[in-house]
Amino acid sequence: MLSMLVLKEWRQQWRNRQLLFAFILLCFLGVVSLTYSYFEHRKALATYAEGMATARDHWLSQGEKNPHSAAHYGLYVFKLPAPLSVLDQGVAPFMGVATFTEAHVKNDATYESALDQSGAWRFGVLTPTFLLVYLVPLFLIFACFDRISGERERGTWRLVLSCRAKLFPVLLSKWLSLYMLAMIVAVGVILFGSIMATLLEPGVNLWQQCLWLLLGYALYYAAFLNVGLLVSANCARSHVAMVVLIIFWVVCQLVVPKWAASWAEQRFPTPDRAVFHEQMQQQKADGMDGHNPKDERVAQIRNETLEKYGVIEVSELPINIDGLLMQQDEVYGNRVYDAFGERIQQVHASQRSVFLWSSLLSLALPMRQWSLGMTWGDLSHHQRFNAQVETYRRDWVEMLNTDMMQQSRSGDWSYKADQQLWQQVAPFEFEPAGIEDQVQHNAAYLISLLLWWLVSGLALFGWIHWRGGMI
């Protein structure tokens, strides 16, 4: 019975040229966006490989020099694009692609591609995610706004009910026929996207990510259809249903996300960049409590070291005290960076809570966030990259300072290390979060999608039950 009803709905949709055209257009845009993303990702991977190789070559071929000079010469680290950026680039264009690691200074990634874009770019980029999050729901609205109200206007709704057809299967068939179309697009795009990503990076295992992503879209489209049919059932006229649904779409896709973005920044403002860096340098120089200036810290370490080795002059020390002082300065600087980094992360966490609560007002917002999380395109992925780069910087700077401390004597700035030492600095390898961590980190958004689906589903069937089928 149900399959026959679904077939009837499909036949009807097939005969509706507008809907057929919209579906074909959707598939075409899917192919275009996937092809474009594939080539973009391939280019990004090639650039990354070239960047890392050249940076490594620069580092190894820097010649003989004092380890501290080498630490100032620094080392570029580049960001490996996430495999599923074929589907969703996420916030990557707003985050840098290259980080310059050097002594004394913690740099974050720079060269954000968003800075090179034109104004039109802010309207959006046709990516597979843009298609799945924005355009497929629009297609669903166009397909379902007159599913019930249209039947009522044409007078066929009474005919359907008079045939002793049960209301639930009739509605379910309408729901399923559209849901399947949306899921065909989602499955197709995600499947081809993951195949393309695997072709470009043969070793990656993406099936878990894809399944989680698909689960999100399954809930998303289900909730959209619930709302669509609910509105269609409640509006006397199809055009009114259409306008109401479009308002719902605009509110979900544009108004609430933009409002949440503005509200998050207004409620929890990010510190001004210039002031933030000024304060950070100030604390490094004057001490974190403001009463422990660098000169005093240096004098204290000097005295402690002399005492430890039981000598009176630094020239008598068996180590180079400059190496030790620089390393201690690094350690102190790292504490300052950590404290300031914590401040920024707290601001971001507070802003995240705004997005989390706003996802109860917008169906698209939790889906967008879930997609970012499952494709490693969210902020936490980039924060993880920055944190790992910083650990890497601290390790290799410490290694060079230790070498200087142990291999030369105080005041001897003529000491030079060579390639043997440079080779001990291993190439940077980024370890992204596991899928379990990502799911856990973004679970609230999946729960939000689940809530939307449940509440809208209950509202739809509750309404039908209340009206006793006379809708």
């Binding site: 507008q18 845009l29 474009y36 080539f39 650039t47 990354y48 960047g51 050249t54 820097q62 996420g90 916030v91 707003f94 985050m95 692609v97 290259a98 990634a109 060269y111 954000e112 591609s113 968003a114 800075l115 090179d116 874009q117 034109s118 104004g119 039109a120 770019w121 309207f123 959006g124 980029v125 046709l126 355009l135 166009f142 249209g150 199809s238 055009h239 259409m242 306008v243 479009i246 605009v250 544009l254 108004v255 933009k258 409002w259 973005a261 503005s262 998050a264 920044e265 403002p269 990010t270 001004d272 960049r273 210039a274 002031v275 920024i344 601001v347 971001h348 802003q351 997005f355 902020l379």
Partner: protein, 473 residues
């Protein structure tokens, strides 16, 4: 007389329609909220720029006071490094983006670029990004007045007018209307003109009120105000023409709504993204990573050959060699280091200049192509014009980047001359120390171009309407 009755009837119908009131309230609410948020954000940016300049002025005044004390023999410095006499103490100089009073109108690129930048004499200048900020709000976009005008205003228009004819036909009212004395052609034109006039008056008043909320007197820039209102009028006219054209088809209200909303989605969502995608595919830009590596290679090579380069540089610039003095012979090693650093910097910059220029050229070509392709969407044209009026467009930031580049050049030259003179900083430098002056760039041609393009779009639609003729009803 008969038209007066029609006007009155139409006004009464509009006033009695609860949908009109709901949309008016929603539009006003959105516009005022967007204005408040935008004003707060821009005020924070402006405060950051002011504070940075004030802090720098204070710091420089203190350093000059220290130098005066040193020259008067009240203070003693044995070393250069870490004292006001050292270049490194003066290494950084502040630059700031000039925000206009109208910047609340459109966020533009102001959420991407930091309002305050620093230039120094040992690094290439670059515009800082808002790298501390959460990237998600940038991804989702700002809730600013430009968003309300570009995205929401057409939707309100469509919602108010999509059933102008189709619904009358469905209710059987059209036959009655056709039976009236005034020609249906004149009637519909008058009806649309009245609606356009009322909507424009409402939006114009709302915009003026938004200026009031922002605490800005729009009459100070009366020319810009006229341009803004003209842009809004043309954008409204464009959408009215689209609505009228769709209404003239023999479609039901549902089909009219479907077609109009598809047009809205196409012009505001699909077309701009397709334009970006096409431009990116045709005009490829080399990666920043390659540029970074090229800069690095050039700096490395120049650094390795610094002694030879330095000798060659002095041969090429004998005027700098003549500046040498032995006033500070004790710091000759330090001066030599600065001199060699300046030479290495310039050599490395020269080595990548062509690559840098090519990158910028390709970027400009891509932007140009994107803007040509985006012309197909009046929404993109309108938004760009609003950003230009607000002074926050990409063009404004490119102009700022060029000013930054010029200033960095002046800053470097100042210290290079001092290094070759082998002179530490003195109080005499107070007068000659370069300072950055934020200036608000104006691009009237761009707004005029937008007016022209929107006008052309309206004329084209007008021609289509003429061809279709109202007899189609």
């Amino acid at each position: 007389m008969k038209y007066q009755i029609w006007y009155r009837t139409e006004c009464k119908l509009l006033l009695r329609d609860p949908v009109v009131w709901i949309f008016c309230a929603a539009f006003l609410g959105c516009l005022f909220y967007a204005t408040l948020v935008s004003v707060e954000r821009q005020a924070a940016y402006r405060a950051a720029v002011t504070s940075a300049f004030e802090t720098q002025a204070l710091q420089q005044a203190e350093q000059f006071a220290d130098l005066a004390a040193f020259e008067a023999g009240e203070k003693q410095y044995d070393v250069l490094f870490g004292t006001p006499r050292s270049y490194f103490t003066w290494a950084d100089s502040v630059t700031g983006f000039a925000f206009s009073d109208w910047s609340f109108l459109a966020t533009g690129s102001s959420d991407l670029f930091a309002p305050v930048n620093l230039v120094n004499f040992y690094e290439p200048p670059k515009l800082f990004a808002q790298d501390l900020a959460n990237p998600l709000p940038r991804l989702l976009g700002s809730f600013d007045p430009a968003f309300v005008l570009v995205y929401l205003l057409p939707l309100f228009l469509i919602a108010l007018n999509y059933r102008l004819i189709g619904y009358e036909r469905e209710r059987g009212m059209l036959t009655l209307l056709l039976a009236q004395t005034p020609a249906i052609k004149s009637l519909m034109v008058l009806r649309m003109a009245l609606r356009l006039g009322l909507v424009f008056a409402f939006v114009a008043l709302a915009l003026l009120a938004a200026f009031g909320v922002a605490g800005v007197n729009p009459l100070v820039q009366s020319g810009s105000l006229i341009v803004l209102l003209s842009l809004v009028l043309l954008y409204l006219l464009f959408w009215f023409c689209v609505v009228l054209l769709v209404n003239l088809m023999r479609w039901t209200a549902s089909t009219c709504a479907l077609v109009l909303l598809t047009t809205w989605a196409f012009l505001l969502m699909i077309l701009p993204t397709l334009a970006i995608l096409t431009a990116a595919s045709i005009a490829e830009v080399p990666s920043r990573v390659s540029l970074v590596n090229a800069q690095r290679s050039a700096a490395k090579q120049a650094s390795e050959q610094k002694t030879e380069l330095f000798d060659q540089y002095l041969l090429d610039h004998p005027e700098l060699a003549d500046l040498k003095s032995d006033e500070h012979a004790s710091f000759s090693g330090t001066f030599a280091w600065y001199q060699q650093s300046a030479v290495v910097y310039e050599t490395a910059a020269r080595a990548v200049a062509s690559q840098n220029e090519r990158y910028q050229e390709q970027l400009r070509a891509r932007h140009q192509l994107e803007s040509y392709l985006s012309l197909a969407s009046p929404a993109v044209v309108f938004k760009h014009a609003l950003e230009t009026l607000a002074g926050t467009s990409v063009t404004h930031y490119w102009d700022y980047a060029e000013a930054l580049e010029r200033y960095a050049q002046d800053w470097r030259t100042f210290f290079k001359r001092k290094a070759f003179s082998e002179m530490a900083m003195t109080t005499r430098d107070q007068a000659s120390l370069p300072g950055f002056q934020p200036t608000q760039a104006q691009f009237p041609a761009q707004t005029m171009q937008a007016l022209l393009l929107l006008g052309v779009a309206c004329v084209l639609l007008g021609v289509a309407l003429f061809v279709k003729q109202l007899k189609a009803i």
